[in-house]
């Protein structure tokens, strides 16, 4: 565009974006539209122009007319000056020498020529009035000179009149802050040499958390007093003390100041509670694997043990001699000698069957009588439906002593005799209602006492005198009356998993061992909760046993010990039983994490048998 053509836009000072969408960009003086110059330049054209046109850099677009304007040299200079922050005018000098108007030199002419005011000659009346007022006030003593402040506090006898009534209730409640701990030898600047930390101790001290450290400083030794430096944490310590004083909750704490000896309960001396087994008397060796179960003949002469090596061994108690070995071809889970002294019969659990074995030991009359008793069985006329099969073994097995086989459908866990010696109960590892079966050996007849299962049965037991039947499940022991066919009691053991159970010969007390290493003593007359929970063992309890005459009971555990306790039950109902541990019997080696697996008392003597995972049976007398 050039000034000659004079295309002046008349739109005024408006944002030109408003004309963006129109073909024109405004109106000239005549009111004609000014059309936008045709801009068909694309990127390539722009580039070419940039390369070719030497004045490209000084070409700008006029927004009002849309035309390209080439800046003149003066204009370019102006732009540059402005960019540099200089004045637009080339000739303007910003650093002109300053000429002081008012200077120290006295000029001959006054700056202003105004005549002086009248009030500068006459004293001020208002001021006079003020001054006279002040003077009057001072004269009258109304205004006094300011006294210098005295900041030093004055002290007097604060406690001159101490009266006890002023002690408020607050002060009785008040817990005085504990005093700072007094320093010990180790804090001395010159401590005895043993209090200095060695290198390792120093390292350990540095690695400890500052809150955990026993000493808050490292003991140091200085040769003389002059060498002792200032303690860098002194202010910290005082500050922490301050914080403690006003931020720490205070509480009166009853310090337990008891003599530990007083805590130990006074128990009767074990010596006064004799007899009880104290020493290892005999070891019965022969089994090659763990001995799971033990049983003893009612006369106390013979001992039978069942083992994982698939054999049952009969021992003479007094001589530790193995009288007989009966291979049964399977792991023996449980074994029970008939408690009736007139019958010589042993029930053995092997896998799915219960074998009734006549050991043919002892009095010949007795064991032949037993055989006769078993043979006198006459099969009933009508075949009854039974949960198990009663089989008569082959002649070869007969000669080894096996008289009867009770074939179950599942593996048998435990077998136990009734006190009379006719009935026996077996526990099958099963989940159905067929877990517990009661068999009658003379009639070769079995029945299932329960209609439905109530959890995994761990052990069963007959009451020695009355028609009660005890069933121990994992958590509780149920007591059934066999005559009335009903549940009489449910004992809660407070244990996680009951492992074994034994009943006092009196029939009123039960002990339960559990895998969580507790032994619960129940008094049936007292409550369904344990009278006492004994935690003597460190590992799981495997077996518990009562003595038939002496007030003794024993518990065997996986920690390889047998603990014999004195458990006196009084006839007087008002007196609670007295439980005193009297002896810890050790001897069994722990193999495969198993210690003692079964424990058993001699029927007449205060002797205890234990069978262990190390393949031995031990007798303690």
């Amino acid at each position: 565009s050039s000034p000659l053509q004079d295309i002046r836009n008349t739109v005024g000072n408006i944002p030109m974006e408003w004309y963006q969408d129109f073909p024109h960009i405004g109106y000239n003086l005549d009111g004609k539209k000014i059309y936008k110059p045709i801009r068909s330049k694309d990127e390539l054209d722009m580039f070419l122009e940039k390369m070719e046109n030497p004045d490209y850099w000084r070409t700008v677009q006029d927004k009002m007319t849309g035309a390209d304007i080439k800046l003149t040299d003066e204009q370019v200079d102006l732009v540059r000056r402005l960019q540099r922050g200089q004045f637009g005018d080339v000739h303007f000098n910003p650093y002109e020498p300053a000429v002081d108007f008012f200077s120290h030199e006295v000029m001959i002419h006054p700056v202003t020529n105004r005549p002086a005011d009248k009030r500068s000659f006459i004293p001020s009346l208002i001021e006079k009035e003020k001054v006279s007022k002040l003077v009057h006030a001072i004269k009258m003593g109304w205004i006094k000179p300011r006294k210098p402040r005295d900041d030093t506090p004055t002290y007097y006898d604060l406690w001159a009149h101490e009266d006890p009534n002023s002690i408020l209730g607050r002060h009785k409640m008040h817990v005085p802050a504990p005093k700072m701990k007094l320093p010990g030898h180790e804090e001395s600047y010159n401590p005895p040499p043993e209090y200095l930390l060695s290198e390792e101790e120093k390292l350990a001290w540095e690695q400890q958390d500052p809150a955990e450290r026993k000493l808050s400083f490292v003991p140091q030794r200085f040769g003389c007093l002059r060498a002792v430096p200032a303690y860098p944490r002194f202010i910290h310590e005082r500050f922490e003390r301050c914080l403690d004083l006003y931020l720490c909750p205070r509480q009166r704490k009853m310090r337990v100041n008891v003599d530990p000896e007083d805590l130990i309960p006074k128990l009767p001396k074990p010596r006064d509670l004799q007899p009880f087994p104290t020493t290892l008397a005999l070891i019965y060796r022969g089994h090659s694997s763990l001995v799971r179960c033990l049983s003893i003949s009612p006369s106390g002469q013979w001992l039978v043990s069942g083992s994982d090596d698939g054999t049952v061994r009969f021992w003479e108690v007094c001589t530790a001699r193995c009288m007989k070995t009966l291979p049964v071809g399977g792991v023996v889970k449980s074994i029970a000698w008939n408690p009736n002294p007139t019958i010589c019969l042993v029930a053995i659990c092997v896998e799915q069957s219960v074998l009734l074995v006549n050991p043919c030991l002892g009095d010949k009359l007795l064991y032949t009588a037993t055989d006769q008793l078993l043979e006198s069985y006459v099969a009933p006329e009508e075949e009854r439906l039974q949960p198990v099969q009663w089989l008569v073994p082959s002649a070869e097995e007969q000669s080894r002593g096996i008289r009867l086989v009770i074939q179950h459908s599942k593996a048998v866990k435990q077998v136990t005799w009734h006190g009379k010696g006719d009935y026996l109960a077996s526990v099958v590892s099963d989940n159905s209602n067929l877990q517990v079966l009661i068999h009658q050996s003379s009639k070769r007849w079995s029945q299932n006492p329960f209609r439905r299962s109530r959890g995994l049965v761990q052990a069963v037991l007959f009451h020695p005198t009355r028609p009660y039947f005890f069933v121990a499940t994992q958590r509780c022991v149920r007591v059934y009356n066999l005559l009335k066919q009903e549940l009489t009691k449910k004992l809660m053991t407070n244990c996680k998993w009951v492992s074994s159970m034994a009943i006092h010969p009196g029939g009123d007390n039960i002990i339960c061992g559990s895998y969580d290493s507790k032994l619960a003593w129940f008094d049936l007359d007292l409550s369904t909760r344990p009278y006492q929970l004994l935690r003597h063992h460190k590992r799981a309890l495997r077996s518990v046993a009562f003595h038939r005459h002496y007030p003794l009971f024993a518990s065997a555990s996986d920690d390889g010990t047998v603990i014999v306790c004195h458990g006196m039950v009084y006839n007087d109902l008002l007196q609670n039983p007295l439980l005193v541990p009297v002896k810890v019997l050790k001897g069994h080696a722990i193999t495969l994490d198993l210690g003692v697996l079964d424990v058993l008392f001699h029927p007449t003597q205060p002797w205890v048998f234990s069978s262990g995972a190390d393949g031995t049976v031990r007798l303690y007398t």
């Binding site: 209090y195 860098p232 004083l245 909750p249 001396k269």
Partner: protein
């Protein structure tokens, strides 16, 4: 918060934390509602509000640069006093004394602060004044009992009206002020403590018939004046300094009468059994003796020795003390004074020794005070390896570890003197050594051991007690005795088994408690054993060293 500090309100631990905290167990601090209500009734709350208003006005005036207003406001700065709070918190004087520990420690700390920054100069000066006043009281009443040089500072214990008061002062060095400490909290505490200490001081001075803003005794004042009157202007500051020199006795309102004190002693004895009376009398005598430990001795402190603590301690026990005149005002006599008996010095060697006085290291003073007797000076000559400095605050109980030095000390206090003999022997031996060295080697070693034997025997005794049960039977030779031992052991075994069985029968909670107690006991024994073993190793190492060096000398 400031109110809580001043009024001594502290949080409480609720009985049912969960119930109070709306079911959560997050750690929070709980105050009693009663306490907070109690705070609201406090008249000082209004004063605090006034002060807040004052600060606001002042800031405004500063902002507008109205300097006249600033001046006026500053002149009318509201003040508050804490007297009633002190009285309220400590209704009786003994209560106040009981809580004086922290107050003193704080005041001593603040009095060592530099006069710039951190806190007001007035506070520091006040603290210094109160601390010095208290020290003067302790001197006048001679109630200092124990001193302990620790690496943290110097601990003092005084017995004021039957209450033990312990405080700690830092060593006289500049503090490097930590940044993670809230000085405002400390300042608030100090504000309260200074008030408390001021009133306590007043009361204490009154109880001794001393003039309260303490004045140096007239006679001493006259003596002092010619020496320093010219050098120092006698304004209040130098007066305080003079007071802090602790060298002069204080003026009394009533001249002290000796009969008075004697009478006091006799009164409480009446109406008691003879035995108690005897014990009490003995104690009293011991105390009296302890108080006059340094009576008649004249000390001179060399300039590198920390003057204030030593002067304080010595004066507390009746000694006279002086120091170099250029060190501090208040020096009463010169280093060349003939009558000086003890010269405290902390340098490895002395240049010019004056005959007729002991040159000693400062630890001697502190150890003597703790031992309640003047210890033999031989161990404390300058340049000598000092014996360990033991804490007087430790009272050993049964089964604790007792360092052998303490045993020695206890023996000395009882009147036995095992150490001196051996020392004499050593000295003799040394004298003989000079005469003929050849045939002495074996004997010498033996004799040298003798001094240590005492310790060893004691150590052994301790060990024996511990290892009695472990004593093996093979020591016994005759079969008869062996059986006897067996029987004993059997019995012991039986007893221990019985105990074990009984422990089995304990209830769960009791068993837990029992186990905890036993664990604590065992740990204690273990620690004591460890210390004993360490000591033994150290001793043997030292002996080895000595032997070696001796042999080297021989060779």
């Amino acid at each position: 918060r400031r109110l809580c500090i001043l009024k001594g309100i502290y949080p409480h631990e609720p009985k049912h934390k969960k119930k109070v905290n709306k079911g959560s167990t997050a750690p929070r601090t709980f105050y009693l509602l009663k306490d907070i209500k109690f705070l609201l009734h406090e008249p000082i709350v209004n004063k605090f509000r006034e002060y807040k208003v004052f600060v606001r006005k002042l800031r405004k005036a500063y902002g507008k640069s109205e300097w006249g207003t600033v001046e006026r406001l500053k002149d009318n700065k509201p003040t508050y006093r804490l007297d009633h709070i002190v009285k309220e918190r400590y209704p009786t004087f003994t209560d106040a004394l009981r809580d004086l520990d922290d107050a003193l420690s704080m005041c001593f700390l603040f009095s060592t602060f530099p006069r710039t920054g951190k806190c007001h100069v007035q506070t520091i000066q006040l603290c210094r004044r109160l601390a010095v006043e208290f020290l003067n009281y302790v001197i006048a009443s001679r109630s200092l009992r124990k001193v302990f040089l620790s690496i943290k500072g110097i601990y003092y214990q005084a017995e004021v009206l039957g209450q033990p008061i312990t405080w700690v002062t830092p060593y006289a060095f500049a503090h490097d002020h930590p940044t993670d400490v809230d000085y405002r909290v400390m300042a608030t505490f100090t504000e309260f403590y200074t008030t408390l200490l001021g009133f306590v001081n007043f009361r204490l001075y009154q109880s001794l018939n001393l003039v309260y803003p303490p004045k140096i005794d007239g006679q001493a004042d006259v003596e002092l004046k010619p020496a320093e009157g010219k050098e120092y202007a006698m304004d209040s500051e130098s007066y305080l300094e003079k007071l802090s020199a602790l060298s002069a006795s204080l003026a009394r309102v009533v001249a002290p009468t000796h009969e008075d004190e004697v009478e006091m002693d006799e009164f409480p004895v009446e109406g008691e059994t003879a035995e108690q009376m005897d014990a009490r009398k003995k104690e009293q005598e011991a105390l009296e003796k302890h108080k006059k430990l340094f009576e008649g001795l004249r000390f001179f402190l060399n300039r590198e020795v920390p003057r204030e603590p030593l002067a304080f301690v010595i004066r507390c026990f009746g000694g006279q003390v002086s120091w170099d005149k250029s060190l501090c005002i208040g020096a009463t006599y010169d280093a060349s004074d003939r009558s000086i008996t003890h010269h405290i010095i902390d340098r490895p060697r002395v240049e010019r020794q004056v005959v007729g006085r002991y040159y000693l290291q400062p630890q001697w003073v502190f150890d003597s005070v703790n031992a309640k007797m003047c210890l033999p000076v031989a161990d404390y000559f300058p340049g000598v390896l000092l014996p360990p400095h033991l804490s007087p605050f430790v009272t050993e109980q049964e089964g604790d570890y007792i360092p052998p030095e303490k045993l020695k000390l206890l023996a000395m206090q009882r009147g036995e003197n095992p150490d001196e003999e051996s020392e004499e022997e050593e000295e003799e031996e040394e004298g003989e050594e000079e005469e003929d060295d050849n045939d002495k080697e074996e004997e010498e070693e033996e004799e040298e051991d003798e001094s240590e034997k005492e310790e060893e025997i004691k150590l052994k005794k301790m060990e024996e007690q511990k290892t009695q049960s472990n004593k093996a039977p093979p020591v016994k030779v005759t079969p008869g005795k062996l059986r006897l031992e067996d029987k004993q052991r059997l019995e012991q075994e039986q007893q221990s088994e019985e105990k074990r069985l009984a422990i089995m029968m304990m209830k769960k909670r009791e068993k837990y408690l029992y186990k905890k107690i036993m664990f604590g006991k065992k740990r204690k024994v273990r620690e004591a054993n460890k210390l004993a073993a360490k000591r033994k190793a150290h001793d043997s190492a030292v002996r080895e060293e000595k032997k070696k060096s001796k042999k080297a000398r021989r060779a």
